[in-house]
């Protein structure tokens, strides 16, 4: 039987491998996972390696909350969505004190190795900005070929949203860096020192 999505699968595979190559060039550690349990395992390994005591999580689909919590084992986990309504100073302190931030990337951008963050609250943005380690989760099916395809989408997202709820959109390509000391490339300035991309190559719709 003919698979109508075969061409789509091939170009997706191309985008994925291009994306992985670009991430490698940008010093982003990439992991492709095919199940929830693999997701949990991968996150747990990272958290253990960095000696994580406190994690903040923002924007991930409710379906994956369990997988993330399970990975934390021992570390304090705060979901930014749950912190809404708490005093700002408290929320900021939690975000600032976290070792790791786990966030959702709406899209991947293959050619430039970028991940698209779409948030509506600065606390979510701080989850990927304040901690030294950033783990971004994204679906392999969301990977676009390049910036040229991605930027018009950004415009559309902004245009299609009401004035009171405009998205805050950021392309993130790698850990924070500077060349300001004798033009040497140094990582981990004010943003994360290391970035992990966990690419979910699995069907997130439906049950299981």
């Amino acid at each position: 039987m003919l698979n109508p999505t075969r061409v789509q699968d091939e170009s997706s595979a191309q985008d994925l491998s291009r994306f992985l190559a670009s991430l490698r060039d940008l010093h982003v550690e990439a992991h492709v996972v095919k199940s929830e349990s693999e997701t949990t395992e991968t996150i747990r390994t990272i958290l253990t390696k960095v000696g994580c005591k406190s994690v903040v999580v923002a924007g991930i689909p409710p379906k994956l909350r369990g997988a993330v919590s399970a990975a934390a084992s021992g570390a304090a986990v705060s979901f930014v969505e749950d912190l809404q309504g708490r005093p700002q100073a408290e929320v900021v302190a939690i975000l600032d004190g976290a070792d790791v931030g786990i966030t959702w990337a709406a899209k991947g951008v293959a050619r430039e190795g970028a991940m698209l963050e779409v948030v509506y609250d600065d606390a979510s943005k701080l989850a990927s900005s304040l901690p030294l380690v950033h783990i971004a989760l994204l679906e392999s099916s969301s990977i676009l070929p390049g910036l040229v395809e991605a930027l018009p989408l950004v415009g559309k997202m902004i245009k299609d949203s009401p004035p009171e709820r405009k998205p805050l959109i950021t392309f993130i390509s790698g850990p924070s860096k500077t060349g300001d000391i004798e033009m040497r490339l140094l990582y981990g300035v004010h943003g994360p020192h290391s970035v992990h991309a966990i690419i979910l190559d699995m069907d997130l719709t439906g049950d299981t």
């Binding site: 004035p163 924070s176 860096k177």
Partner: protein, 710 residues
């Protein structure tokens, strides 16, 4: 000449002398620029980016955006509709008044700043300091120069001149702890120090790389993560954006984002490219959170309406022009700059800060590399020539510049009195006199003059059959008054290829008028030459020259000086010699004059870079059996026409300081023989590297007539 303006020129010379004396700093800065050039080239090659295609579309987009007066209003309306506040500031003072009022209203005492050259332009920090408000730079380079009390030395790398040791000293002072001179130690100290300020600041101030009118959004491109914290933690997000930065749509923004970091740092994108449309809530609360956008004029609307200077508004602040500028690379951004440094800094400074701040325009040697590297194809050299013209109108022209702008007349005189003129020019007494009276450096080798010029030598050859086409040969000065034998060789080849060759009585191409700020005279000579060429162009003649600068003038400069169909036709029909015969090279039988066992070195003249990049000349040499080794550092040899003949720092000394970096490469290459098409680059490399330098036409002793076709 008022004494105030004498001071500006004197101050420039003093700073230049200091830069030339501090060899260590100058070399370090030069190497930083070389590295920046290398990063850009590496990315263009890796990603197969065709910069020429991008230049044209970028230019069209930016020019249209700058001219569209409705964009500012559309942008402002959208910002307001989304809950933000907009202030259109006519001047820097107006902008700062708004900032102070805002700060007072919210009781702000601490402002954290992301990198914004626009805020530097209006002296943001200094103005706030006056009223007791502390504004702290959070970009590492800007923080370093803030602590040092200096202005930025480069658009993109504001502290490129600082060593690790100097940075350690400065940061140690800032954080109040003696730090080791070690990268991670510094980084850690800065991270900890600024983290506290991010968390407690009342206002976060950022610039914007792009403003998108259709959604009232700004785009900020950063690497360090400071921009993210500045725009999210503080209650107030304040943006200062130049009015020329606004483009209509997100598709337009895509082009600029793609081109900007590729050109600036050799990155596909900066680490963070943020699209901000409002100051979103923090932890669900929007209370007290405000978004303010100051749209700055400060001279920009005047530039927009100026036919010469509106081009400067197309700048996307990539800094590539200063990465390639040879004299900026020696002098550094404090000598070659005021607040905006480098080539693009010249028209910007003249227009927003004042002509008296733009005296550093005279450091430009008109190599044209800034325009060639600019991702928006901005005609920086032409604007610099206008700034020079304005500065000279106020403060007078230098005697030595007048001397060299009279080169055509001087060449006629020297030629008609040769060989006596040559004898005089060789005497050290003459050279000493020329140095003290006129300002021609006695150390510089000057070319000899020929009594018998080009045309008399061609009369025996005839004009040619014209079977394959018609050519006007344009010798300019060198192949007519100095080395007519070169012109003869070129014409012989053209005749053998079946062209009809005419050598009409043309003026010189007139480049020194541009170099020394006499745009009026340049326009005169352009008009005269174009008028003389008109009938030939109408009859289908091509214009061919052995002098790269002549082709450069016809292609790049004349169309700007005398806009219209005639100049456009001349541009399309002008060719460098080897470029013109390139396709027909296989027909020629070339016999080398020198042994081909050793490769021949090659230098690409700046004025040929945008024309043929040396490629056809190299093919010609290969056709004669030579292996060709191109020796380049990516920028000018330093001679810059007559500039390197001028006495002193703003001449020979600066010229040789630039040249040193190329001479070293040539010496290291081991090449004993070097070819280049430019008569003046030739002098520079032989004077500086002590090598034999010839025009490629002298590398072949015989060019056989093409075989007749069957």
């Amino acid at each position: 000449m008022t004494s105030k303006n004498n001071n500006n020129r004197q101050s420039l010379l003093t700073k230049l002398r200091r830069s030339l004396n501090d060899r260590e700093s100058s070399d370090k800065f030069w190497n930083a620029m070389a590295k920046a050039r290398g990063n850009r080239t590496a990315l263009l090659e890796k990603e197969h980016i065709d910069m020429h295609a991008i230049k044209d579309s970028n230019k069209a987009l930016k020019t249209a955006s700058v001219a569209d007066r409705s964009l500012v209003e559309q942008f402002a309306n959208n910002v307001r509709e989304n809950g933000g506040q907009v202030f259109l500031a006519k001047t820097g003072e107006e902008a700062m008044r708004y900032v102070v009022e805002l700060s007072n209203r919210v009781g702000a005492k601490l402002i954290v700043k992301a990198k914004s050259l626009t805020s530097d332009e209006i002296e943001f920090t200094k103005e706030l300091e006056k009223v007791g408000i502390r504004a702290v730079e959070t970009d590492l380079g800007e923080l370093v120069i803030q602590v040092a009390g200096e202005t930025p030395v480069h658009l993109v790398m504001p502290a490129a001149h600082k060593s690790l040791k100097e940075i350690t000293q400065l940061i140690s002072g800032l954080v109040g702890k003696e730090l080791r001179a070690e990268d991670q130690e510094i980084l850690g100290a800065v991270r900890a120090y600024l983290r506290n300020l991010f968390l407690t600041a009342d206002i976060g101030m950022s610039g914007a790389n792009i403003g998108v009118a259709e959604t009232g959004s700004i785009v900020i491109e950063t690497n360090e993560g400071n921009g993210r914290l500045v725009t999210s933690l503080p209650k107030i997000h304040l943006v200062i954006i130049g009015m020329e930065k606004i483009v209509p749509t997100w598709s337009d923004a895509a082009y600029l984002v793609k081109g900007h970091s590729a050109s600036a740092t050799g990155q596909n994108m900066t680490v963070y490219v943020s699209a901000i449309t409002k100051h979103v809530p923090l932890a669900g609360s929007a209370e007290g959170r405000e978004f303010h956008v100051i749209i700055l004029d400060n001279g920009r609307s005047k530039m927009r309406d100026d036919p010469w200077f509106s081009d400067a508004l197309n700048c996307i602040r990539c800094g590539a022009c200063m990465n390639v500028c040879p004299t900026y690379g020696i002098a550094g951004g404090h000598t070659f700059g005021y607040i905006y440094p480098g080539p693009i800094g010249i028209p910007w400074t003249a227009e927003v800060h004042g002509l008296d701040k733009a005296t550093f325009a005279h450091l430009c040697i008109s190599c044209g590399l800034c325009k060639e590297i600019c991702p928006v194809d901005i005609d920086i050299p032409m604007m610099i020539a206008k700034v020079k013209e304005e500065e000279i109108a106020e403060n007078g022209q230098l005697v030595v510049n007048d001397f060299f702008m009279a080169s055509e007349t001087l060449a006629k005189m020297a030629s008609s009195t040769a060989p006596l003129s040559n004898w005089f020019l060789r005497r050290s007494a003459t050279r000493a006199l020329m140095e003290s009276l006129v300002g021609v450096d006695r150390r510089r080798t000057l070319p000899a003059f020929s009594r018998r010029r080009l045309r008399p030598r061609l009369s025996s050859l005839g004009t040619g059959s014209g079977a394959t086409g018609k050519v006007v040969f344009f010798p300019d000065i060198y192949a007519d008054y100095n080395e007519p034998q070169l012109g003869v060789r070129a014409v012989k080849i053209l005749l053998s290829l079946g062209y009809r060759v005419e050598v009409p009585d043309l003026r010189w191409s007139g480049m020194p008028y541009i170099s020394y700020g006499n745009v009026a005279k340049a326009t005169e000579v352009a008009r005269e030459n174009l008028d003389s060429l008109e009938k030939y162009l109408d009859e289908g003649y091509a214009v061919v020259s052995t002098e790269p600068t002549a082709v450069y003038m016809l292609r790049e400069v004349y169309p700007k000086l005398v806009p219209g169909d005639l100049a456009n036709k001349a541009r399309e029909r002008s060719f460098p010699f080897f470029g013109f015969i390139h396709e027909r090279l296989p027909e020629l039988e070339l016999k080398p004059s020198f042994p081909t066992a050793e490769p021949i070195g090659f230098h690409i003249p700046c004025h040929d870079r945008s024309v043929s990049h040396g490629t056809p000349a190299i093919s010609f040499l290969r056709g004669a059996g030579y292996r060709v080794q191109v020796v380049e550092n990516g920028t000018c040899c330093g001679m810059a026409g007559t500039f390197g003949m001028k006495h002193g720092d703003l001449g020979y000394n600066l010229s040789m300081a630039v040249g040193d970096h190329l001479f070293r490469l040539f010496r290291e290459s081991g090449r004993k023989l070097v070819a280049t098409e430019s008569s003046v680059c030739s002098t520079q490399i032989s004077d500086g590297a002590g090598l034999k330098v010839i025009h490629p036409l002298y590398a072949v002793e015989e060019v056989a007539k093409p075989a007749s076709k069957a």
